[in-house]
Amino acid sequence: MGYRFSAYDTYGYSLRYYVNQNAYQNYIGLSGSAGTGIYYQWENFANYNQNFGKHFVNLMVGTSYSNNRSYSVSGDYRGSDEDLGVMQDNPLFYYFAYHSANAVPSVSGAEAMYSRKLSYFARAGWNYMGKYNIQASFRADAADLSILPRPMRWGYFPSVSGSWTISEEDFFRPVRQAISYLKLRASWGQNGSLAGLGGYRYANVIASTGSYPISSTVPVYIDGYAPSSSGNDELKWETSEQFDVGVDMRFLRDRLTFSFDWFRKMTKDLIVTGITPSTVVGVTASPVNAGNVLNTGLEFELKWRDQIGDFNYSIGGNVSTLRNEVTYIHETLSDGIDGTGVRNYGTITRFEKGYPAWHFYGYHFIGIDPNTGDAMFEDLDGSGDATQADKMDLGSGIPKVNFGVTLTAAWKGIDAVVFMTGAAGSKIYNCLTVVDYPSNRLSFLTEDRWTPTHTNGTMPAANASNWQQFLTSDGVVFDGTYAKIKQIQLGYTLPQKFTRKFFVDNLRIYGSLDDWFTFSKYPGFDPEITGVGNSLGVDKGTYPTAKKIVFGVNITF
């Protein structure tokens, strides 16, 4: 059982001020608020473990329930140009009880908001002599009414996994010298997500759209009501189903380890919110289970660890590949869903069948017109103009390959680690340029620009007429391949015999360079930092990762 309680209250007043004819306040404004938040979670588990000879069986069942309650009230009083708002101009009167007769109050809140979850789960496992292992589990999760409609509330997610430690088998003995450990494993499982749902967005309800005054002289209003969304009473859990097969091996007295995995993950019924099926429908669409996305890939890991006298070292690396594709889109969404856009120049990512999720979308830039300095785009429909029909797939922000390398070394009290990571095969859509008003631009776009005296420039002229189209083309899509040395750390642990004299068990001093070296051709700030979700791979100027030099001390008493 876990419990968390928080509470706050505020009180404030704003004084009169005068800056100029448009920025001033002639009254004392009062405000106050209070709120509480309560969260509790209750979990129960029952375990059963039993050995039957060489077999070992374990069972577990459990439940979990959580409840979040938040409540707040706030209010304020305001005067006007002629009304001070409080009875006396004296801080002892700056409280609600002493408001002036004409001060205007406003209140909000006083509505407890709840969010609740309920789950049941069970797990069973069987192990025979450490050689064969099977485990199965099952989960049932329920979401509250604000997230899913009542009939679709429950999600059921089974999973099963098994492994065979081949190296423990009798027939494997002869090979044990070379391969000290070999295990084959496989798993299949589902789990659910309710990304971004809440607020009864599936519900087809009538809600207020405002108040309309029906007299032009006295404040009499009628409230307008209209359906707030199209409703989706079939909204359900988003399920990710993953199948994985892998091998773990160790060689040469456990110094060399290798593992390999192949996985296939299908995300079904992906929940997409905030979409408009078509403008002529006239109302916003509730969230839908929009589509299916397939991710498949391979992962390799290789590590060597050895010791020469007092010197320990290890070298490890991993590589993983990923292929991502949208395999199905709900029929009301026509060809696909628009993602993010660049200012108001147009949409630049789309969710479409047959492409990676939220792939880049725009014109294909084929060069600069040497006569005018304007950008030229591939004309797919032969219309002669760059129109919507000429937009096409420009790549994806999802890397095809991710890799990492870790080197460690230790000798006597000194330890060192170098950690590098990187990605390849992704693209980055650079959205740092604005053409509506004067602003800085990436020098990449200006250095080789067309000018009347440099007519073979590779970038458009500063006053080219189609900058907005250039910024929604692959003229600003770059290769996002990068490698970063994320950390180089060197540390020294003082001999324990020495530090124990000061009652210190362990004293380590270290220095490290974090995010210091980046290798990439990307002309923007940081190839690692881009958006998420429908902005994956889109660089809108998120603050880049800073290089850091860190010095530190670890002390254990």
């Binding site: 979401a143 509250d144 309800v205 309309y212 005054p213 307008g224 408009t276 078509s278 002529v280 147009g346």
Partner: protein, 515 residues
């Protein structure tokens, strides 16, 4: 051991039982909403659904009025300097494409109104009584109101006459017959139903609903745009002969907040001075279209609102047409536009740094400090007028002239002229009517659709070649805009583009040529 097992099992059972009942706790009710399936039954509910349409139209002011003004030869985009609002410049100079925000927003808002009308027509039963019949009639009027703009600006927008099921979301372009047909049918039924409100008398300032005469005027426009001139003339005559509308004597007071629902307006969106609910009366339009006050010097007691972003600036071509008709001291001219000299001498306002413009300032739709609400620049008290009697007379004149009734045409035009303190004309030509309409109704959202109907888009062929910068000394500097492609292009700009998002989301729709 056994008792311990039983004890543990009992605890487990109790816990599980407790949690089974917990699933009811997940039924958290939603606040502030009503069930769709049982709504639209009582009079109160029907009225609320009806009022939702009025609220939707009130929100049109910013997009619709501003867009329509930009797509004419009456205005420059304006702003503090070139580039202050790219979108308005694109519209004004015809360099916009299907991704243009304002176009998308306008398109969406029309269909949102149509949706709300369709919901009422689909759910409110005639049998429920007078309120229900009135709501249904008003829904038809609002639906026709939206389709009129959609048809005349986009050509063949999709026809949606009921709430769409997901399988129907890909709606093809509507045909001319279908679109005009639904407008004619809706308006004729609404007028004939007898359920629409009517003003009680000429000086009734309380009626806030759409009236039978408004529906008739709208039907007249629907006929006029199709060339069905005698039917159109009949509708406009019905409004005139109702006796419930007249031209106001004092031209300068028509749009003022103190004159809401005056004898000349056919339909207005209401705002009211209410400090407790100031943001119900939010309006960005006033702030956008007020003069660029931060580039001017003005006396502290000036009647003009102190902040303004200076968009929708009148052109010299408009001023010149005024002078051609009325002379420099024309009564209506002086109630419509002011020159730089006039704002100096009459209001004591001078220019302190250059603004975009040719030296003419909007006066007819001026923004006054006393009409600002709650000490806040975003709250403006004047109502938005969607149609006034002058438009009825001028459309009626055009319909009569085209159907062979020149005498009636001249009568209507002379009513306008006499209110403008101008001498009557003996006979009117179409050019006379066009001129009067431009001068009478500039900035009120009629010119763009008129120019398209008259085939006079070429008047805007030079939009975007240069823009004017008014200097402090009154000189005008014409600065090149630098658009290699600008201005109205025949074969393309007779229609606005369907929004790019619509083209992508709707597989059945076809884009207009040139986009």
């Amino acid at each position: 051991m056994k008792t311990r097992n039983i004890f543990l099992t009992a605890i487990a059972a109790i816990c599980t039982l407790f949690l089974v009942s917990c699933s009811n706790l997940l039924d958290i009710p939603q606040h502030g909403v009503l069930d769709y399936n049982t709504y639209y039954q009582t009079d109160e509910q029907i009225t609320s659904a009806d009022v939702a349409m009025y609220l939707e139209v009130r929100g049109w002011e910013y997009n619709v009025k501003l867009c329509k003004a930009m797509l004419t030869d009456d205005f420059w985009a304006g702003g503090s300097m070139r580039g202050d609002n790219n979108n308005l410049e694109h519209l004004n100079e015809f360099t916009f494409d299907a991704e243009e925000d304002y176009v998308q927003a306008m398109f969406t808002t029309y269909y949102t109104l149509i949706y709300k009308a369709n919901v009422i027509l689909g759910h409110v039963d005639e049998e429920k009584g007078a309120i229900a019949r009135q709501a249904r009639a008003e829904a038809k009027v609002f639906r026709a109101f939206a389709y009129f703009d959609l048809k005349t600006m986009w050509g063949n927008p999709p026809l949606v006459d009921h709430e769409l099921a997901p399988s129907e979301y890909n709606v093809p372009n509507g045909t001319d017959e279908e679109l005009w047909g639904i407008m004619e049918q809706d308006l004729t039924e609404a007028i004939a139903s007898g359920a629409l409100a009517e003003k009680t008398s000429l000086n009734d300032t309380e009626t806030w609903r759409v009236t039978k005469q408004f529906a008739q005027a709208l039907l007249g426009k629907v006929y006029l745009w199709q060339g069905k001139n005698s039917e159109a003339a009949a509708q406009f005559d019905a409004v005139v002969s109702s006796g419930k509308y007249a031209l106001m004597d004092d031209y300068s007071l028509i749009h003022r907040a103190s004159n809401k629902h005056n004898c000349e307006t056919l339909f207005e969106s209401n705002r009211i001075h209410d400090d407790n609910n100031s943001f119900q009366n939010f309006s960005m339009y006033a702030l956008m279209t007020n003069w660029r006050m931060d580039k001017m010097n003005w006396p502290t007691d000036t009647p003009i609102m102190n902040t303004g972003w200076g968009f929708r600036v009148p052109t010299k071509s408009l001023y010149d047409d005024f002078v051609k008709d009325e002379g420099v001291d024309g009564y209506r001219l002086n109630a419509s536009l002011k020159t730089l000299d006039q704002i100096n001498s009459e209001l004591g306002i001078t220019l302190k740094s250059p603004v975009i413009g040719e030296g003419y300032f909007m006066w007819k739709l001026r923004i006054l400090a006393e009409e600002r609400g709650m000490g806040n620049d975003f709250v403006y008290m004047a109502n938005t007028i969607w149609m006034r009697y002058a438009e009825v007379l001028l459309c009626g004149a055009e319909a009569h002239l085209a159907s062979g009734n020149a005498g009636k045409a001249a009568e209507y035009v002379n009513m306008i002229r006499s209110r403008a303190h101008l001498p009557a004309l003996n006979g009117v030509t179409l050019d006379d009517i066009k001129l009067e309409k431009r001068l009478e109704l500039f900035g009120e959202g009629t010119r763009m659709q008129d120019l398209l109907r008259w085939g006079e888009g070429s008047k805007m062929a030079k939009n975007g070649d240069t823009y004017p910068e008014l200097q402090v000394n009154g000189q005008i500097k014409y600065v090149p805009c630098g658009n290699p492609a600008y201005g109205f292009k025949p074969g393309k700009h007779e229609h606005l583009p369907y929004p790019a998002t619509e083209i992508r989301l709707n597989s059945a729709i076809e884009q207009n040529p040139g986009y």
